[in-house]
Every structure is written in structure tokens, then in C-alpha cells.
Symmetry: D2
Subunit: 349 residues, 4 copies
Amino acid sequence: MIVVMRNGATLEQIEHVIERLRESGYREQVSTGEERTVIGVIGSGIAPDLGEKLEMLPGVESTHRISKPYKLASRDFKPVNTVVQIGDLAIGSDEFVVMAGPCSVESREQVLQTARAAKAAGARVLRGGAYKPRTSPYSFQGLGEEGLQYLADAREKTGLPIITEVLDTADVALVAQYTDILQLGTRNMQNFALLRAMGQVNKPVMLKRGMSATIEEWLMAAEYILHAGNSQVILCERGIRTFETAARNTLDLSAIPIVKRLSHLPVVADPSHGTGKWYLVPPMAMAAAAVGADGLLIEVHPDPDAALSDGPQSLNLDNFAAMMSDLRRVTDAVGRSLGQLASASGGGR
Amino acid sequence: MIVVMRNGATLEQIEHVIERLRESGYREQVSTGEERTVIGVIGSGIAPDLGEKLEMLPGVESTHRISKPYKLASRDFKPVNTVVQIGDLAIGSDEFVVMAGPCSVESREQVLQTARAAKAAGARVLRGGAYKPRTSPYSFQGLGEEGLQYLADAREKTGLPIITEVLDTADVALVAQYTDILQLGTRNMQNFALLRAMGQVNKPVMLKRGMSATIEEWLMAAEYILHAGNSQVILCERGIRTFETAARNTLDLSAIPIVKRLSHLPVVADPSHGTGKWYLVPPMAMAAAAVGADGLLIEVHPDPDAALSDGPQSLNLDNFAAMMSDLRRVTDAVGRSLGQLASASGGGR
Amino acid sequence: MIVVMRNGATLEQIEHVIERLRESGYREQVSTGEERTVIGVIGSGIAPDLGEKLEMLPGVESTHRISKPYKLASRDFKPVNTVVQIGDLAIGSDEFVVMAGPCSVESREQVLQTARAAKAAGARVLRGGAYKPRTSPYSFQGLGEEGLQYLADAREKTGLPIITEVLDTADVALVAQYTDILQLGTRNMQNFALLRAMGQVNKPVMLKRGMSATIEEWLMAAEYILHAGNSQVILCERGIRTFETAARNTLDLSAIPIVKRLSHLPVVADPSHGTGKWYLVPPMAMAAAAVGADGLLIEVHPDPDAALSDGPQSLNLDNFAAMMSDLRRVTDAVGRSLGQLASASGGGR
Amino acid sequence: MIVVMRNGATLEQIEHVIERLRESGYREQVSTGEERTVIGVIGSGIAPDLGEKLEMLPGVESTHRISKPYKLASRDFKPVNTVVQIGDLAIGSDEFVVMAGPCSVESREQVLQTARAAKAAGARVLRGGAYKPRTSPYSFQGLGEEGLQYLADAREKTGLPIITEVLDTADVALVAQYTDILQLGTRNMQNFALLRAMGQVNKPVMLKRGMSATIEEWLMAAEYILHAGNSQVILCERGIRTFETAARNTLDLSAIPIVKRLSHLPVVADPSHGTGKWYLVPPMAMAAAAVGADGLLIEVHPDPDAALSDGPQSLNLDNFAAMMSDLRRVTDAVGRSLGQLASASGGGR
């Protein structure tokens, strides 16, 4: 951190800053110029709010952070890509991993039918919500543990690993028993109790970006999980809130190469929530592949207009299969592998 | 809700829409015009996502919601203002209630000193955080139950009721034992598990607006609490996230008269978090009083530049007293009462 | 400006930076620390994009601007408040100046009726648009010079100075002939040709904030006018674009104390455009007075529901008079003068 | 448009609405339901602000627009894609058209060198700014007509058509003499005088999206040009302003399939301004091709770190050539043609 003193700051003021730095365990490097004095702060682990505090001291003009506030999540700390392994699946490798399934788990049959069709089209992970964060208390809130059982049943029958969301610290242990990947949703990105709980689970966690979180805040949320002991974090860009209302959110695809530069963690895109409209999902999915994402999260439903939640953004089975076929040409073009097509009947164990 | 069919929609398509409406328990009112057919949806409790679903049906051009998605929180439902009573304090009445105290509880002495000074200057409620939501896992996370005890101790000595934040469903019971008002913070506004838990507590809840929540989403969050059985909800505008970075957030004062029109719930403003800079707190506090807020939440610290969190936005004791004196002229001008000045020594029980 | 070199930057890289600085006419002050080297850039008039350019050089970690990119608009340059004088009116002084009138000039009678009523209620300047920026080519575009004549006629009859908008460099000379204050609208805040033209006019200019302009960009736009030779600039906060749609824009009242701190220029608020709803205008007008604005711009129309533009945000004559009466209590509370009430018949010259 | 009357609106209020509609030249279609009355407004060319006006009438609950406020720009009006032809170049066809060149024209040699290299790598149009919109009055403002001559000279020598920006109505005739495509920049998207002037030019116009313009406002701006008589409009998405600061803007790629659905006009993307960082340009360029854009606008400079403007977002000649090679695989994957590679020496006429 650099502390810039005002033009005309007194020696006393400069010394007061130095004193405060030393009290907090830092050392200083003072550079006295013609116009003003600049103080470099030396020490490992600059507190995230040190700058704000120093700016309150008399004579201080401004402070400038040089290092990032996150450490474990940064590429400086770990230059090589993290690859999250789930069975034979490697997220963050050359594989381009598509996770597909219904927004909400509604019935055993619905999940199984979707899982089979998704797998046949090339999906590698089955997604589905058993605990649903809904804006309205009057909306369907999910089947709870019953939904988890349907997901586990579909995994049994298709071999697809599953990903599902957890909403409350009280449910973490139960959800972790069933799922292969725990999903932490956009509205909980700064639910710090839940982030800490995720750090103590021995399963991969997919951390969705908060709908109005900066990339730095997103990586700080990942830092909570990493710091609490879980290194298997997958990031998911799912659209940010902007002034534009033509789509539900603005899927921020530039976040993907930015995150890849700043962090070693894998990052996937969710064009279903990111746009809110099924007809925007295929073009944005292809764009996400072209921009360098490690995979996709896609809502698929056998009968979207009867879905209990988020039907408007779900692809039906045919549209999903068509999208996967187009997508394969793009993943080939950027040197990523979408995997072999499974036969619809295969995969049972 | 109004369903507008496309110009040229077939009779079959119109009948399909009607069929779906009836299946879902609604009745229809069809109006056939020269250019297009419009279908009115009749029934109590239009589901929040009905419009999105109907828009997926063939032949549907658009849907238009007429009624609000919240009910218990709406002024239509309850035309008279809700007044939240805490002892002799009435939030939402003609009183203008200032809640003041440190961002974080740091020590018994710090809390008590602040409480006494705040009370002397006219504050009616003591605020202070024992569980702190911090962007970084490396920042001070609060004293936990020890902090609650210091707050309770200061209440004992000054007579000021207290308000403090709860972060996790696991802590609700404990925090509710100590506090007079439970605070639900901006990052948890859509933590639906926590909202439901708040609905089961027999204490007032202050619900902060999510930093990127629309007013409608904020009222829907209040609806969760009301629907779960707790009618003592106080809203708090605390700044929204915009493109402007000169202040930490943009305190949206227009939200206050808008909420007053839409809802019967009391609403206060938090200019400390809303601006992030102590020198903006007094002018924005006065503006909040002028615009019709029912009170304020203000960070006050005996020594802001040593504060363990959010020092830069805290007023010191002298600045707080000066602000209260200016504020009184504005509350008088708009016909609200800031209450009698207590003597610093008074109020012990 | 401070240039921070990467940890491990080579001597050659450091020298390359210094060379580039000298080529561009700056001097350097190098500070070599244990971990990294920091270079201070010395020289008057740091180019606004110098930082971006230096960040492209090899070995550079980051750059940090210390001085503001604007000069003439800054309070550092001119510590005392600028007061814009129009006849006996002093904008930026202790007077709180209300400018009122219709969005669009529609007829001689409409303008005159509004001007008389506005003056009677305490307005000091008559506003009205003759050239209208309209989102749609199918909307009423203003009466042009005919409208300017009606405004001038109303000034003749009431003594109120007038303010009106100019949209194109081609119209500046004509508009300046008629008006007392030239208004530059939100959509033209970065119309640099028009800004430069405003700098060459010998009349005060009211510069509205762009609806998505940062405060810094707004002051840079003022700098264009000041730099081109016109020092009589009044700033006007008129609402910014955010994700919230309950009001047309989010009136950013915190911008007012921020601008007052950064700049010596007077600043007024426009709650009519800032909210887009007439019933939000009085509370936001009072809040603007409480927060420290130097005045207001208010839309008033004798028959808002027949207005050719922006009726929904216009007060009728009775509502305006009622608002002025409430406002006077707030301006008194903050030590500003709303001026003496004129009699409705008075003021002719 | 649908007008929804309040539950309990009187017959008189309903008749008043009908009367106002008829006065304004519309007819009505009244539908009286059990709960409320709904009035359909019939007539061609519903005024953009009719809804706002009707909402002011007593007894009106809300109004709902059914048709789009733009007409000539809509796909309803013209279902087939517009193809803008410039010599043998067809923008909006199966060709994927890359326009490349420096942000600012700096010298004859710089433009020519860039043009030759860009052409060799596959660019089909040469871009370059002679009139520069700069945030600061102290920044380089462009070479003016001298710059136009250098561009024309490069066209002469390479055969590449040129695109350049115009900032003021006063310059339109001059710029149109030199250029093949006129560019209207983001800050002027709602400069209505300039839009009208663009409508009277017999050259294609590239209309950049305003950095905080909704898609609807963008199409309304296009409507101004179309309505004034020029049907050769190309849209350009160039990034919107959001809360995220990691990139300069957020390139909104979802806008491209949305615009394609709403309008028949071709649309290209500008990842250079849209991200502000050269290393984000290639991935976002590929994403734009994958999402369905008709082309790209790319900043290329022989020596970006010496550029007089926007160096940080410019590719150097080698990076541009490498990007084009990667891009070709993506355009092939989505069935678009990037054109034949020219030899560096060819193309003179």
C-alpha cells in the first residue's frame, strides 16, 4: 500500500502515520519528494480496510492498494489452474463440461427423463434444485430432501454426478450427503456463515457470482471457502444486474477472461439465469465457450411451459440437443473437448 | 393480469390459454377487438411467475401484471401506518427516532461510552454489531455473544433499547434473547431461510434493503417475514450500488416516499453505510428527515480512526452531537419530533 | 502520479519508464524499496490518460493518480464559492433559488400564466423548453424560436429571468440572444462541441449531469466550459440511471455535498426529471434543500394532464405553491433564504 | 395500449378517459369485467408518452404498452435482414466483417502501415478517428480534416473503405465527403440534432449504443435516422456502464441476439472500447462472433504504448493477426465467412 501525504503535510502528521503503521505491525518506506511525501507500507497481509483507516488521519491525501485483498484465490499464489475432479470428470481442464437439468426437481420421472436426455445430448453433470430461493413466499419452494432423493436416483440410473443448491447452514450436512457438487447461489454469495460452512465440507462447491458483486468481491467470497479449508471451488458467472431490462440480467462474459487472469479457479457460465429467456441461451452458451469458460450450467425441462419454476428460461429436450450440436463446433474451434456422445440408454451402473 | 394475444392469434391458441388459466384455478374475461384479443385473468392471489409462464404459450404477445406481487406489506391491504412499539418508543409515529452506536462492538467501555454520549445527544436506540458480515475472511468478524452482553449491559445502564444484526439462522434464538430489535443486513435481504426465521421471532425486525434490490424485491422480502407471522417490520434504506464510486453507495432517498406510498411499514435511513464517508452523514441525515423518513441509523464511535470496522463512516461523539442539533431544526420544520434531550447521566434503571 | 513497478521488475524496465516520462516532459522521483520500486511523476498537468499508457509498459504493476484530472473546476484551484449573478439574483450565495416553469413552451398564454403563478409562489427564474430533446422522433420537438419569444415575453411581463435548453451548436447564438441562462441537458453532457460553444458565450450555463456520468466526468465537462473561457457555470443534479425502475431516475442527493467539497461551482437539483413523478417532487425538493443544494429546477404546468411533454412529473400551480410553503420551513432550518414572496401582479418592468 | 381502471372507478372517470382518447385521435374498446374495466386503445402510431399521460387521469390504475415505440427499425415492419452494401462488402450478410485501425489518426504513415497490416490479416474496413470525443479538454482532440485526408489516402492505397466518427452537425458535410461510413459515437447516441443530420446523408451510418442506453432507446435513436430518410444503419454494441470496474465497460453480448430478434438492422461489436484492455479483446471478439454479430470494430495500432489515445485497448499488428487467425475458426464454426486473406501488398486501385 502507498500512502500519499498532502502537499504541505507536517512532519508531525507524517510521523503520526508511521506510528500507526508500526502499531499495526507494518513497516514503512518513506520517500520525500519536492512536492509531497509518499509512504510505502511494508508487511505481509495488508488488512482490507487499512487504506480507509489511514485516509482518516490528518495530512493524508489518499492511499493506494497495490496487492490484491485475496490471496488463496489468486493466480499469484497458485499459478497453475485448479482442476476440480469428480470421478472421471475434470472441471478446469481441456474438457468443456455441460451441467444440465431442471431448475426445480418436481418429480422422480421428470428428473430421470431430463437426466437421460441431457446425457444423451452430451451433458456430464445433472443439475436440479431441491431447495429453491424464491423471491416470493407464495412461490413453490422446492421438494427438500425428497428432491435430493430423486436426484440421487437419477444419478444411480444414468451415472451422471449431481449438483444442487444449499440455502442454509442448517441444511449443509444433509445436502452434502446426497450431492456431488454443492451450489451456493447468487443471493447467498455474501452469506458469510454459509461460505464458512462450505469451507468445511469435503465436496466441491460451485460459487455463483452475486448479481451485483464485483469480480473482486466474488473472489473474496471464494477466499472465505478456501480459507476455511476447501480448495475445490468452481466459480459461476450468472449475470449481473444493470439498467437494461430486455434480458433478466446481463451475462458478463468479460468476467470470464478477467477471472482466468486473476485466479486459478475454474469458471463456468449460466446463460439460463443470465438471460432469463430460453431463446437467448444457445447463442450465449456458444459465446461463453468461445470466450474461454470451462463449462456451462443449463436449465433443461421436458415441458418448460408446465415447469414449477423458471420455465421461460428452460430449453426443452430437443432444443437442448440442438444447442449441444452447435456448441460442439465452437468448442472444437477453441480447442476444448465436449466429450463423447453417450447413447441415451447407456450409463447405468 | 392482462394477457395480450398476438395480432393473428388463432382461436385454438386463445382457448389453450384459457384452458391453462382454468387448470391453475383462475377465471378469464375475454375481450375480442378488431386487432387483437385481450384476456383478463380473474382470481385472488395471482402467482408471481404466472406472467412469465403464459408468455411461453403460442400466440401470446405479452402479459401485464396489474396487482402487486406482495399483499401483507401493501398499503392496499393495510391503509394505516404500522407503528412498531418498543417500550415507550414508537417507530412510524410522529417521533423521529435516531438509532446510534458503533459499527462493531469492541469493548464494554467503548459501547457504554458511546451509548451515554448518543443518548445525551438525543439518540433513542443503541446500535452495535456483535456478528459482523465482512467482505474479507481476514477482517475482524465481531465479538459474538460477548458483544451481545456488552450491549445488554449498556442498555441496563442507559435505558436505551438495542438493535443488533443476526447473520445465520443458527444464531437467531441467541441474538433474540439479548436484543430489542433484530437487524437483517443488506447482504441477507434475500436469505430466505433467515427471513422465515425472523418471521417466527417475537421481536421487531429491521430489514435493510439489499444493495442491489429493487423496492419491489425489498417489499417481497418483508412479505416473507410478515407471512411467517411477525408483523413488526421496520424497513431501512442503506444505499444502492450504482456506477458512481465517489461515495460507497448511492443513498436512494426517493425510495422513502415511494415505500411510504406502497406500504404501511415504517422506514428509516442509514446514511453511514449509504455514503461510507463521515462528512456526508450529517447532510444526508438531514435530507432523510426532510424527505419523510421515520428515523435514522447512525454510526458513532468515540475514536473513529481506531475503530475495528467502518471507522471512515463513523461520526465521533462531538460530530454526532453537532449533527443532532442541526437535525432538530429540520425535524421541527417537517413536523416530526426528535424527542427531549436526555441528560447524559440520566436514564439508568 | 505514482507508478508502482512489479516485484522483480528489472533495472532496464525501470529506466524505460523514466525515459518515457522524460520524453513526455515530466520528471521522476524514484524510491527503491525492499520489495519493489515506486516512481513518483512530477510535473504540472498530468495528462488524463498517462496512467493507462504507463500501465502498458513492461514491468509496471499499476499507476495511481494523486491529483484530480480537472483543474479550473476544482476547489483546490479556487477555494471560495463561485456565485453566478443574474441581475439581483445570486446563485451560489445564501439565497435558495427556485427555477420553475413548464417542461415545454406550448403557447404564449401557458408560459405567462405559469410564470405569474410561479413568481407569486416564490420562484426567481422561469424555465421552459423551446428545443426539446425527445427520445422519439414522433414526439413533440418544441416550438423553436417561437418558444423563445414567448419566454422573453413572459420575462418582460414578470421580471423573471429565463433559462432554456440548447441542443445544437448551430442554435447557440440564437438561444443566447433570448435567454439569461443557457441549459445544457443530460444527453449532451459529453457533447464536446456544444460544451466548447458554451465556453464562448457570455451568459451563465447550467450544466446538467449526464444520467450515467460520474461526478468526475461531470466536473470534467464543466472544465471544458471553463477552459473555453466561460466561468459562469451552474451544475444541476438531475438523477442517474440505476437498476431501480420505481422512479424514472435515482436522484443522487449525495452528489451535492460531494460536489461542494470538490468544486467551487454552485449546484442545484432537478427533482422533476430526477423522479419523473409529480408526487415525489415535493419531498425530494425538501431533501435537496436540506442537503445543501443552492436551488431547484421544478416543472410546473397549469394543466399537467394536458401537457405536451413530461406532464406526469409536473406540479400544477396549486401543488407548486403548497410545496414552496413547505420548502420555506426547510430552507429556514438550514439557514438559506427563499426570498420574499412577490405579489402575483408585481414585477413588470 | 391497454388502460386498466382502478377497482371502483366511476362511469364518469371511464368516460373521461374515452373522451381524452378520442380527442387525441384514437378509438377505444371497452371491456367491463367483474372487478374492473379495461380499455384498449386503437389507432396507428400510439404516442410514446400516451401511457404516462393517461396514468394522470383520475380512476386510472395503470397503462400497458403493447406495440413497440419504434416502427421503421422493427422486424415487424421489415422482416428480412437489412444488408448494408459498401462496394463489394455486404454488412449483415453471411460475411463477418472486421473493421480495424487506430483509435486516433496520428500521421499519414501510422494510418497506412496499420491499414496494410490490417488488410493482410483479413480486415475489410479501415477505422480511424479524426475528430475525437475526449473526456478531458487537455487531451488530444484529433487531427480534423488532415486526419480525414490520411484516411482517404490509405483507402486509395489499400482499397479498404473507411469509417470515421463525426461529432457535430457542423462537420457532417465535410466528413461525409471523405468517409464511406459515418460513425455516431456512444456519447452522441441521443444527440438528436446529429441523428437528424445523419438521416440526410447518403452514406451508411454506424450507430453506437449509448453507454447507458437501453436497447429500446438505441433502436429509437436508429428510428431517428431511418425516419429522416437514411435506411443504411449499422448498430454497434460497445459496452455499457455497470457497477463493475475491472473492465472499462461491460460488453453486453446478449444485446446482439436481442437486437437481431427485434430489428432487421445489422449489428457489430466493439470489444476494444467495450473492455478497455487489449488482452480482453481477442476472447470477447471470438465470443461476439459466436453470439451472432455481423462483424467487429477493433482498435489496432503499430505501437500501442505510444498511441495518442486509447493505447491500452489497442492490439499491436502481431496480436491482431493472431486474433484473426483464431477468429476464423469460430466464424467457420458458426457458418460465417471472414473473407479471403488479402496479400499485404495487394488491393491498390
